[in-house]
Each structure stands twice: as C-alpha cells, then as structure tokens.
Amino acid sequence: MTATLADVGIALGRVAFVMLFVLNLGGLMTWVERKQSAIMQDRIGANRASIFGFRIMGLLHPLADAIKMLTKEEFYPARADRVLFSLAPFVSVFFALVAFASIPFGDTLRVAGREVPLQALTFNVGILYVFAMLSLGVYGVMMAGWSSANNYALLGGQRAAALMITAEVAIGASIVGVVMVYGSLNMMDIVRAQGPLLGGWLPKWGIVTQPLAFVLFLTAGIAATKRIPFDMPEGESEIIGYFVEYSGMKFGLFVMADFLETVVISGMTVSLFLGGWQIPYLEPAGFVFPWGATVALPGLAVSLLQVGAFVLKVVVMIWFLMLIRWTLPRFRYDQAMRLGWLGLFPLSIANIVLTGAALLLWGAR
C-alpha cells in the first residue's frame, strides 16, 4: 500500500465530484421543480427573490429558502424523543447522499500512466450497495414518525415502512433481469456491457434488452423516493406525514433527502437502462461510425464527453420523473400496496423467468 499524494488527490477528486454533483443537483431540483411545474401549468413560477434587482429566473429562491430555514426556530414537541427527533433528518440525508457513490459517471480514464475509474467507490457488487443505502434511508423517516409523538407522524412513518418494503421487493426483483443479461453486479461492468450496438444501430441499452424491467424499476423507484404518485407517507391533504412536527432546516433536510433520492434513482435508471455514460459510436479512441468515418479524440476528451453524456441523461431522467410527479394524482394507500404486491412483484418475477428462457434460447453471453 503505497499511496502517493496524487493517488489520494485523485480519490478525493472522485468523491468530491460525486458529492458536488449530487448535492448541487439536489439543491437545484427545488428550483427545477417549481419552474417545471409552473411551465407545465401555464404559469411563470417563483421569480421574486432578488439580489440588487437581479432575479435570474428565480434561481436565487433555493438560496433564500436555505437562509429562511436556517434562521427559523428549532421546535421540539413536548414528549418527543429528542435524540431520535434530531437524528432522523440526518439519517435520511446521509443515506441518500452516499447511495450515489458506486454509480459510474465515466469510463476508466487513462492519464499519465494512471487508470482512474470515474466512480467514487469501485465496489464489485455496486448494485447491491446502492440498493442497500437506498433502503436504509427509510429509517430516518420511521424515526421521525416515531419520535414526533404525533399520531399523524406515526401514520406517515408506518406508511413509509410499508411502501419501502413494497418498493424494495419490486426494485430488487426487476434488477435481477438486468443483472442476468449483462452478467455482473458491478455497475461499471454493466454500463460497459451496454456499449455494443445491436445490428449496428440499436444501442444495447437496458431499455432495449429489458423493457419490462425498465417500467417496473422506474415505477418502484418512484415509490422508493416517496414522491407523487406514491407520496402516501406525506399526503399533504390527508395526513401531513412523518415531518408534521419538524421546522426549519430539519424539515428542509427531509425535503432535501427526497430530492437526493430522486437524483439517485435517476442515476441508477440511467446506469442500468439508458447506457450510463455510453454514447453510441464513441469508442475509447474516438468516434467510429459504421460507414467508415472516424474522428480520433484524446482520452481526456472522450472522458469529458462521457461525463457530459451521463450528466445529460441524468438531467433528462430527472425531468421525466418531475413530469410524472406533476401529472399523476396520488395513489390511495391500498392502491399502492396492490400495485406493488399484485402488479410489480409478479411481473418482475415473470420478467426474470422470461429473461432466463431467452438467455437459454439464444445462448447469450
């Protein structure tokens, strides 16, 4: 173990990139959510916050919100379990933040004789890691629901627990098909295996090879983020949800955790089903088109293009998730349970069987 300064620097850089990427995207999403919903509903959206008269399309609103929340009073309900009450939002945010760590944002970068995997943590079983972290986040919600000493919060916590198990079973079962097709639990390998083009033009992305799994995963993934149409744990119009008693930045952290989870789910969807950092026709040496044309590119430029492609795909995915969030009404609690256990779960099992049969038939891999 001889870690030079450069190695440490590179490792820190990888972690920093992922952290900043997730945090910034999560912070920006409060703005995106307002603006996108406004545009979808023929409105303008938040545009009042200004510094010296500069409004820049309401981009200062997240900042204003943060300042407001930080300066608000911290409120503890009487009879609340103070330790758990303060711990809950941090648990929520922490697991949402670290979940992104093993999602690759670019191919291995070869610079100056070094190989830098563009991924914060190179786990051999990366999918399981993301999945595990995603499922741990619900403890923050359940702790919040329990410790608030409020029946509505408790109901929210219970619903979150039930929803999480439902979603998790479906997510796990729908991932299996992808793992079978690409033959690895390593996120980097899965993305790499999505590179080849089927018949010279169709990228071998997960959405092509596993269309059913894509729909199932996306549905279950939205359920895992507890956002509309699966926001029964919050349900503003019936129970206020697990964070009724929260105020100030602690409340903000719960909202933040939701946004971060959305980023994680879109990152996961992109990596598993939309080819991750893959760009069609882009090889490590540059573009190679089937009609013979080639554009040679240096390694760094290729990596930058890949990172750019990944970021773009994630942003588009977030846009799509927002579109769903602002289109569909909320499911009732029993409807969501029915959808999860009688719809998603059996279908994903069927998908596994189908995938296995197809792999046997065509002897893929």
């Binding site: 545009i39 979808m40 023929d42 303008i44 579109l323 769903i324 602002w326 289109t327 569909l328």
Partner: protein, 179 residues
C-alpha cells in the same frame, strides 16, 4: 373495469403526453420571448405588481370624498353613511357651514379601514354624492391599526381612477409604512 383501464399505463402515458405538450409549447414561447418576440407569452398568469388586469368600473376600492368647485367637501354631515355603515367604521363630526344655503359641513370625516367591509352602503346612502369608492386603489396596508385610519384630508386628496381602472392618485402611505 376492462383490462386496459385496470393496467392504467395507457392513461398514464396520455396524461404525460398532455403535460409534456404543455411543457414544450410553453418552453418554446418562453424562449421566443427571451429572444425578443415580446408577443410570445408562455404563461396565462398576470405578473401582479408589474402587470395589472384592468379593473371593472364597478369595483369598490378605497373611498374618497368628492369636492365642490372650491375644494371643500360636498359632505353635509347628514350622518346617513355613519348610520348605515354595518361595520361602524365612519366617524363624522359636524360643524356649521359658512354658507347659509348649506346646512352643515363635516369638520372631521374619519374612516377606520381596519374595520371597513367594503359593502358600499355609504355610497348608496349618501344624498349628496359626497363619498365614492372609485379610486381604484387596493393596496393600502399598515403595520399598525392607527395607520389604517384615514382622515378627511387624506380622503379629499384622492382622485377617481382612470377609464382603465388605474388609480388616479398615489396611494396614501401611512407614516409608519415608510420603507
């Protein structure tokens, strides 16, 4: 229910199509607006303080006292408005008018807008057409109750709104609301 309805996926997609269509249409208009096509509007909402809808001529807004040619109030302190006011927010102190043709004049005419319910009965009741609610001013507010009390002088200074409903005179800002 039919299977197609129960699967729900088709309805999801048609809903997504609708919202996505709105998104792209409005986004295009916003971009066109930013690029200089000022007639392209991506939203149907009115940006209130900068843009205002024209008010109806029948709108009941802040009161004003109508003046005679010499600038004195038309009010003859008959107390009709004070009597009819359901909120009892009008306070009149009467005085002799120098002109013997006219019976009285109001020495003080105070409206506590913190109590006013804007029913318009005072305007209906006035036999002299001395009080009207046609200033078009809606934005009066104060940090204190005293700031909501409007005196005779303030009410006399107000002008009727223009044809488009725009206020004809500046909003009387109470002293405690100075920024």
């Amino acid at each position: 229910m039919k299977l197609v309805q129960r699967v729900y996926l088709r309805e999801v997609f048609s809903g997504l199509g609708l919202t996505a269509r709105h998104f792209f249409r409005n986004m295009g208009r916003h971009v066109a607006h930013a690029l200089g096509r000022k007639d392209a509007r991506g939203a149907v909402t009115v940006q209130y303080p900068e843009e205002r809808r024209p008010y109806s001529p029948r709108l009941r807004s802040l009161h004003r006292l109508v003046r005679r040619e010499d600038g004195s109030p038309r009010c003859v302190a008959c107390m009709m408005c004070e009597t009819v006011c359901p909120a009892r927010c009008i306070y009149i102190v009467a005085a002799e008018h120098p002109n013997p043709e006219i019976e009285k004049v109001c020495q003080e005419f105070t409206i506590d807008l913190g109590k006013c319910v804007f029913c318009g009965y005072c305007v209906e009741a006035c036999p002299e057409d001395a009080i009207r609610m046609d200033t078009g001013i809606l934005e009066f507010s104060s940090y204190s109750r005293e700031g909501m009390i409007y005196t005779k002088e303030m009410l006399l200074a107000l002008e009727p709104a223009g044809l488009d409903g725009r206020p004809g005179s500046p909003i009387p800002i109470p002293p405690d609301r100075t920024p």
